[in-house]
Symmetry: C2
DNA sequence: CAGGTGTACTAGGTCATATAATACAGTTAG
DNA sequence: CTAACTGTATTATATGACCTAGTACACCTG
């Protein structure tokens, strides 16, 4: 279910958290859907349960999942508590990327075009689910 | 000249490389301009020269600077060898950010607006210098 | 030659990461 | 209730990246 690079400088728990986050964002993992149990996923990925646990804890701290002792870990619906700080971080990252693209010679019009293409591509898959 | 966070999980040499890269991208450091010598910068930042060297090496590998033994390290002009791989990475990052912004409830029109604002802000400072 | 530059190497310390082995408490199906 | 599942916590240990310290060599320039 997940492909991890054990040689990467990025920690395993961070890679895993990133993968799960992407599945949530792309709506592959639906709200309130149960995630694989830490021991099960540990067995499948041949990774220590503690490492899985660390990834899940990180995802919980960032507001993407919630865990219930005895029951399991589940995808947290996006509506509850929109993360303003995370949006500011994304804004800064976006700024960096656009600036570097300009530096590398990409024309402004080209940047706009690509983003619009991306927007129409993501619209149907993982768009927001406002009530 | 540089502000580093010694407590951050991000390595010092990575932080430094990122800072220098941003100065280059924003055209604060001009093409072929000499960078501070490794020992000098090490003294100013109270950091081991080896760490500075590591940051410079990384910048050289990524194509942002070039070093000449005996002379110094200098800003590499952007035109020579446009990094296609780097552009693909930026494209992927851009895709991730846009997707996550949508997930967090930002409207597509709002994303376009912010990027256009960013484009006009960067245009005068660090735009490409085509011959 | 003297003093600057980049670069390379070894040695040692620190800390995050990952593993291993237990352990405990809550939930749930039988 | 019992068994088997869940998340969570703890301790111990090993590994590797990171950083420092010190030294050394080759190159360039006034």
């Amino acid at each position: 279910m997940f492909e991890l690079d054990l040689r990467s400088r990025a920690p395993i728990y961070e890679q895993l958290a990133e993968k799960v986050k992407e599945l949530i964002i792309h709506n592959v993992l639906k709200p309130d859907q149960q995630l694989p149990a830490v021991r099960v996923l540990a067995g499948e990925l041949t990774i220590n349960p503690n490492t899985i646990q660390k990834a899940y804890r990180e995802l919980e701290n960032r507001g993407y999942i919630y865990s219930v002792p005895g029951k399991g870990s589940f995808v947290k619906p996006a509506e509850t508590g929109i993360n303003v700080i995370r949006l500011q971080d994304l804004e800064k990252e976006l700024e960096k990327i656009v600036t570097e693209m300009l530096y590398l010679g990409v024309r402004p019009q080209e940047i706009i075009t690509r983003i619009k293409r991306q927007l129409s591509k993501s619209a149907d898959k993982g768009g927001p689910h406002h009530d």
